[in-house]
C-alpha cells in the first residue's frame, strides 16, 4: 500500500497487459472499420478488374452502343438514356418534395393532418423499393396507360420519382430545421410575413442543404433497379424510326437494369459487361455525390458557420 506522500511515478503509469480488455476491444472495432474500408476498396477494384477488358479497349463504343446479343458490340447507351430520363422525372418532383418539407417544418401545427403527413412520409421512406414497382404497375402502367403507354420510361420515371419523394422531403426538412432561429426572428421583427420569411431567409439559407438532398435523391434514383424490373424494363430493345414520344412510351431500360441483365446471363463472358456498366454507374453516382459535398461545403462558408 502506498502512502499518500510517496506515490511513485511507476504506479501511475499504465502497465502493459493492464488494459488487455481495452486492447482487444480496440483491435475489434479497428478491424470492423478496416473491414468496411476493405469492402469499399474491393468493390472498386473488383469492378475495374472485371471491366478492364472493355474499359481499356472499347469504352466509348460501350457507352455509345445499344445492348445487343453480340458481345463485342453490346453497350449501355440505352441504359444511360433511360437513367437520364428517370433522373429528369426525379428532378421534376423536387418542388413537391420541398413544398411538403416547408409545410411540415414551417407551417404545420400539431394537428392530426400534419401528423398524418409526417407519419406517412416517414413510413414511405422505409417501404422496400420493389413495392414502388407494384405501385407503378397498378397506377402508372395499368391505370394511366393512356398517358404513359404502359410499361414505359414514363411509368418508371414516375414510380422512381414517387420513391425518391420521401427522401427529398426528409433531407429538405433537415436543411430547413438547420436554419437558425435568430435569422427567422430577425426577419419577422422587421415585419415580414411568414411566407416572406420563408422565401427570403429560410429557403436561401437552406437551399444548399435542399439541393444536396435532391442530388442524393437523384443518385439513389440512378441506382434503383427493383421497381424497374417489376414495371418491365427490358434487357435490350431495338430502336426503329420512332419519334420522341414513341420512344418515351415504348420499351425502355436503365443502367442498373443493364447491370442486372448482364450479371444474370449464365455465360461468365458477360461478366465484363456487367462490371463495365457498374463502373459507369459508380462514376455517375460518385460524381453526383461529389457535387453534393461541394454544395454542402459552400453552405457552411456562406452562412459563416
Amino acid at each position: 500500500m502506498h502512502d499518500r506522500q510517496t506515490v511513485s511515478l511507476d504506479s501511475l503509469r499504465a502497465r502493459r497487459g493492464d488494459d488487455a480488455a481495452g486492447h482487444v476491444f480496440f483491435l475489434l472495432i479497428t478491424a470492423a472499420v478496416g473491414l468496411a474500408f476493405f469492402i469499399v476498396a474491393a468493390v472498386g477494384v473488383d469492378v475495374v478488374v472485371e471491366a478492364w477488358d472493355i474499359l481499356a479497349n472499347r469504352l466509348w463504343d460501350f457507352l455509345a452502343s445499344p445492348s445487343s446479343a453480340d458481345e463485342a458490340k453490346s453497350g449501355v447507351s440505352q441504359g444511360i438514356r433511360g437513367s437520364a430520363l428517370i433522373a429528369a422525372f426525379v428532378i421534376l418532383t423536387f418542388p413537391a418534395g420541398v413544398g411538403a418539407a416547408i409545410y411540415l417544418e414551417e407551417y404545420a401545427d400539431d394537428t392530426w393532418l400534419s401528423r398524418l403527413i409526417q407519419v406517412t412520409v416517414r413510413n414511405l421512406a422505409g417501404v422496400p423499393s420493389i413495392v414502388y414497382g407494384l405501385l407503378g404497375v397498378a397506377v402508372f402502367v395499368k391505370g394511366l396507360d393512356g398517358l404513359t403507354g404502359g410499361r414505359s420510361v414514363i411509368a418508371a420515371g414516375l414510380a422512381i420519382a414517387v420513391l425518391v419523394l420521401p427522401v427529398i422531403v426528409i433531407t429538405a426538412g433537415e436543411a430547413l430545421r438547420a436554419v437558425p432561429t435568430p435569422l427567422r426572428e430577425g426577419a419577422y421583427g422587421l415585419g415580414a410575413t411568414q411566407w416572406e420569411v420563408i422565401r427570403t431567409q429560410v429557403l436561401p439559407a437552406a437551399l444548399p442543404g435542399i439541393l444536396t438532398g435532391t442530388v442524393l435523391g437523384v443518385a439513389r434514383a440512378l441506382g434503383e433497379a427493383a421497381p424497374l424490373l417489376v414495371i418491365g424494363a427490358v434487357g435490350f430493345y431495338t430502336t426503329g424510326n420512332q419519334d420522341f414520344v414513341e420512344q418515351l412510351r415504348g420499351a425502355f431500360t436503365a443502367l442498373p437494369m443493364n447491370i442486372a441483365n448482364y450479371a444474370r446471363l449464365p455465360a461468365e463472358t458477360w461478366r465484363g459487361h456487367a462490371a463495365a456498366a457498374s463502373f459507369v454507374l459508380l462514376v455517375l453516382v460518385f460524381l453526383i455525390n461529389l457535387v453534393a459535398i461541394v454544395v454542402r461545403a459552400r453552405i457552411s462558408k456562406r452562412l459563416g458557420r
Partner: protein, 278 residues
C-alpha cells in the same frame, strides 16, 4: 390567484395611470408557456419618446413581456397571452390586428446580433423591400446607417457581407435595419450583452441620440446601463408559486429611473439594485 395577492406597489399604480402620450398600456398581462405560468399580472404604461428599461434577475420574464409588445410570442407555439396590451389605445391582441403590421411599427433588436447572411446594403434594405418598397433604396439605406452611426465605417463596403463585421458593428447594423422601416418603437432585448464595453458605450450613446425619434424599451442585466440611459425603469422578479412550485415572473416596481436606483419603494428592488440579490 387574485391581483391583490400580488401586491402591486403604489409606484406602479401611479406610473401605469393612462396618459395621453402613452405608447403602450399594459393591463393584467399574463403569459403562459404550455402550463408554465411564466409572467403574471403585469400592469404598466410606456411613455412616448422615453427610454424604458426592464431589469430583474434571469428568468423573471423580461424578454417574455417585451415580446408581447410586438407579438413575437405568436411565433412560439406553446405561448399564450392573457390580458390587454394597448398600443396607442388599440388592443394589440385584437383578432383583426395583423402581427406583421404590428412588427412593422414596433421594431426589435435581439440579444445576439443576427445580421442576415447578405450584404450590408441588403440587410438594411430588407425591411423596406418586404414592405413592398421598390426602386432605389440607397437613400433609405444611407439614412438608416447614419442614424445608427455606422455610415462612415461601412460606406465603402456596402456590398460586402454583413457577417464580416465586428460584433458591435453587427448590432448597430441590426439597429439600422430596424430603423429602416421607420418604426415608432424599438424593442431591445439585452442589445449589449454580447459586446465589449466600448461597443456598449457606442450603442448607449446611439440610443440617447435616437431617443428624440423613437420610443425605446430595453431589457438589460447591466444596472449601470439602465441608470445611464433610461428615463423609467421596471423591476421584475421571479417568485416560486406555492401551489405549482413554478417560478413565476412579476412586476415589482415601475418608477422613474432615479427613484428606482436612489429611493426604491420596495425592499426587493433595493436589494437587487444594491447587488444584494439576484
Amino acid at each position: 390567484m387574485t391581483m391583490t395577492e400580488f401586491a402591486i406597489t403604489a409606484g406602479v399604480k401611479a406610473a401605469s395611470g393612462t396618459g395621453a402620450n402613452d405608447v403602450f398600456t399594459v393591463d393584467g398581462l399574463n403569459v403562459f408557456y404550455g402550463d408554465h405560468h411564466a409572467v403574471s399580472e403585469v400592469d404598466l404604461a410606456v411613455k412616448e419618446r422615453e427610454i424604458t428599461a426592464f431589469i430583474g434577475p434571469s428568468g423573471c420574464g423580461k424578454s417574455t413581456v417585451l415580446r408581447c409588445f410586438n407579438r413575437m410570442n405568436d411565433l412560439i407555439d406553446i405561448a399564450r397571452v392573457e390580458g390587454t396590451v394597448r398600443y396607442h389605445g388599440v388592443d394589440l391582441y385584437d383578432e383583426a390586428v395583423d402581427p406583421v403590421a404590428v412588427r412593422r411599427r414596433i421594431g426589435m433588436v435581439f440579444q445576439k446580433p443576427n445580421p442576415f447572411p447578405k450584404s450590408i446594403f441588403d440587410n438594411v434594405a430588407y425591411g423596406p423591400r418586404v414592405g413592398g418598397r421598390k426602386g432605389n433604396l440607397d437613400e433609405v439605406v444611407e439614412r438608416s446607417l447614419r442614424s445608427a452611426g455606422l455610415w462612415d465605417e461601412v460606406k465603402d463596403r456596402l456590398s460586402e457581407s454583413a457577417l464580416g463585421m465586428s460584433g458591435g458593428q453587427q448590432q448597430r447594423l441590426c439597429i439600422a435595419r430596424a430603423i429602416a422601416v421607420n418604426p415608432d418603437v424599438l424593442l431591445m432585448d439585452e442589445p449589449c450583452s454580447a459586446l465589449d464595453p466600448i461597443a456598449t458605450g457606442v450603442i448607449e450613446e446611439l440610443m440617447k441620440e435616437i431617443q428624440s425619434e423613437y420610443t425605446i424599451i430595453i431589457v438589460t442585466h447591466n444596472m449601470q446601463q439602465a441608470a445611464r440611459v433610461s428615463d423609467r425603469t421596471a423591476f421584475f422578479t421571479a417568485e416560486i408559486d406555492e401551489r405549482s412550485g413554478q417560478r413565476r415572473g412579476k412586476l415589482v416596481e415601475f418608477e422613474e429611473t432615479g427613484t428606482i436606483f436612489s429611493n426604491p419603494g420596495d425592499e426587493r428592488t433595493e436589494a437587487y439594485v444594491t447587488g444584494r440579490f439576484g
